[in-house]
């Protein structure tokens, strides 16, 4: 299926659940309500016209500083910002990040039978950072969800063993959140900074 008919198919079956959609650069993308995620994922896997048998990737994005990052200074100590030069113009611009929520959990599905890909984006607010786990549908979701919990602090309802995977248990905070400083160190032994 081509990107637009993929989107149509999800939209027709879940008119309530779909918040937005786009096919920027040919990547079919559907933005979903959190409550619809499990249903849509099951539909993607089981519908004979879609047959998304692969959960290729599961990750998250912290949109809290999107478009607000300060221009990088020419010499970082001087604080003199370089005026950004014109970016390469875009004829069909990207609709932008999901409004109103800090995080977005991003799923990439692939079907080996039909060779099509679909991206699901689920906006998640900071105050209630929890989405349904897909571990019942795809075994591979287990570790991927653990990584998202580790890096972003988004928890997954129904996950059998949600614990840190890349960082150690004693680690404080979630390193891929934008408010986690890039140069902060938390070694178990040795000097702290």
């Amino acid at each position: 299926m081509n990107p637009s008919s993929l989107i149509e198919s999800v939209k027709d079956h879940f008119p309530e659940g779909v918040l937005a959609f786009h096919a920027y650069r040919g990547d079919a993308t559907v933005v979903l309500r959190r409550s619809a995620l499990l249903e849509v994922a099951r539909f993607l896997k089981q519908d004979p016209a879609l047959q998304m048998n692969f959960l290729m990737d599961l990750t998250a994005v912290d949109y809290s500083t999107f478009g607000k990052r300060p221009a990088r200074a020419f010499f970082s100590s001087s604080g003199v910002a370089v005026r950004p030069f014109a970016q390469i113009p875009d004829e069909a611009p990207w609709p932008g990040p999901p409004p109103g929520s800090r995080f977005a959990v991003v799923y990439h599905f692939f079907s080996t039978a039909h060779k099509h890909r679909l991206r699901l984006v689920v906006p998640v607010e900071e105050a209630h950072a929890e989405v349904d786990s897909l571990t019942d549908l795809w075994l591979g979701a287990n570790w991927l969800e653990r990584e998202v919990w580790d890096m972003f602090g988004i928890s997954f309802k129904g996950h059998p063993d949600l614990k840190r995977i890349l960082m150690y248990e004693e680690f404080e905070g979630h390193p891929l959140r934008k408010d986690y400083p890039v140069d902060k160190r938390q070694p178990l032994i040795g000097p702290v900074n």
Binding site: M56, F74, H108, W143, P175
Partner: protein, 462 residues
């Protein structure tokens, strides 16, 4: 498993009373790694054993976490490329290519044809070196040290090729957004054929030593079995998936670059055990050589380095000196000669290896040193706070890495560097299936199964 170590918390309890007598038996907990010769890189596996049978496995990863994704948010687009070298450090050129093609997808750039071929050739050479390392290391751990030495010898020939092109063996940083760093050296095709001849000899020798070797086959066949459905459910791709009989290969199913024009077969197994994975990898190396040979034959010819019409050749280093003292007149009409291992290219090769877009790619050296526009273009791309600026958006782009689908998911906020860069590391999915692969096998089977996973710490832990 002589060197396995047990920690004080995980005490070793051996069953002292035998089963048939109806006495008490207790499970034994064995801790392997993180620093253990059989755990390539660093990973920790804790197994619960009943006698020699593995009952339960817990895999602990993250010992090599360097924060790749966090670091990528702090640098500009071309600045990420050296970090991608260190993802899968056995086949860094595939990572380079995957990342650059992701940014190019967001920029809607198409690179020149010769550049596509160069990237494909170097990717396939990297794939061979990756498979050689994997098969060689597995064979060594099963006692076939000769095969390991043979295969590392073949890898040396291939890395000599890579060094000739990029100037480095491992941390190559060869691709750029919109092209590659430099053209192939003149005698590359010849050197490549020679290296392949050596590699083929090694492969046929190793094949004779291993494929029908009783010890090797007994250890490999029927161990580490996974079904095709389970492999898909875990998200396993690459040779590991193809050994189960599923035929998914990104190069065939979602062709990128010029793979749709090159002839190659995708070998598949049927049993999904270690032996099939070994056979698939052996055949894939042959297919990769086939791709490279076809690409060398079909690729558009590069420029003649010293074209009589393009002016007298001046080494780029001399051009810098002339330009520094303002002697532009001496440069005018000359053509820059840049060694292929140095950054940059002259007028002659620039159009065939780089996209013609001033906002993305460095100018030819004659322009950098010879006129103010070229100098400004260079500065606007390399100075801190400048660089390539891509529009706001998100893209996902997969390539076939040596271990499976290597995908990059990039979100841009229109600033100077990636807002978020996510890598889908192929061996992450395989490692998550490791507990299922090992459960039920013998403790000695951990070694060949773990070897055939081809765990690469750099991409697993990022």
């Amino acid at each position: 498993m002589e060197q396995t170590e047990t920690t004080s918390t995980l005490e070793t309890i051996t069953s002292s009373v035998d089963d048939s007598a109806g006495g008490e038996t207790r499970d034994m907990i064995l801790n392997i790694g993180p620093a253990h010769p059989a755990m390539h890189g660093i990973v920790r596996i804790v197994v619960r054993l009943d006698g020699e049978q593995v009952e339960e496995v817990e895999t602990e990863i993250g010992y090599l976490h360097r924060g790749f994704e966090k670091m990528a948010e702090t640098v500009d687009y071309n600045g990420v490329i050296p970090y991608t070298d260190r993802l899968n450090y056995v086949s860094p050129l595939i990572n380079n290519m995957g990342y650059c093609m992701t940014v190019e997808k967001l920029l809607e750039l198409s690179v020149p044809e010769r550049c596509h071929y160069i990237r494909v050739i170097l990717s396939e050479i990297s794939r061979i070196s990756d498979h050689l390392t994997c098969v060689g290391a597995t064979a060594m751990e099963l006692g076939a040290f000769t095969v390991f030495l043979y295969m590392i010898k073949a890898r040396e020939y291939l890395w000599d090729l890579v060094e000739k092109v990029t100037g480095a063996r491992l941390t190559v940083t060869y691709c750029r957004v919109g092209g590659v760093k430099a053209d192939l050296p003149e005698d590359f095709a010849e050197a490549c054929h020679k290296a392949f001849e050596e590699t083929r000899t090694v492969l046929s020798e190793s094949d004779k030593l291993l494929t029908r070797n009783r010890i090797f086959v007994d250890r490999m066949a029927g161990t580490g079995v996974i079904s095709s459905d389970d492999a898909v459910a875990y998200g396993i791709t690459g040779p590991f998936l193809r050994a189960t009989g599923a035929e998914y290969d990104v190069r065939k199913d979602c062709p990128y670059s010029v793979y749709d024009r090159l002839p190659f077969d995708v070998p598949v197994g049927s049993r999904g055990d270690n032996m099939d994975r070994y056979l698939v990898r052996m055949e894939e190396m042959e297919q990769s050589m086939r791709i490279v040979e076809a690409a060398l034959r079909d690729m558009p010819r590069g420029p003649v380095l010293v074209d009589p019409g393009s002016g007298r050749p001046i080494p780029a280093a001399q051009m810098v000196d002339l330009a520094k003292v303002g002697n532009i007149g001496a440069i005018a009409g000359g053509s820059a000669v840049v060694g292929p291992t140095l950054e940059g290219s002259g007028h002659a090769e620039h159009p065939s290896i780089a996209v013609d877009d001033k906002r993305v790619f460095l100018p030819p050296k004659e322009d950098t040193y010879g006129n103010i526009e070229g100098l400004m273009q260079q500065f606007k791309l390399v100075m801190f706070g400048h660089g390539v600026r891509v529009p706001q958006g998100e893209v996902y782009f997969p390539v076939e890495g040596a271990n499976g689908e290597l995908g990059f998911y990039l979100v841009s906020d229109g600033g100077g560097g990636p807002y978020r860069l996510r890598v889908r590391p192929p061996c992450f999915a395989i490692m998550s299936a490791l507990s299922q692969l090992l459960t039920g096998d013998m403790v000695a089977d951990i070694v060949p199964t773990f070897g055939s996973v081809n765990m690469i710490g750099g991409e697993l832990d990022r």
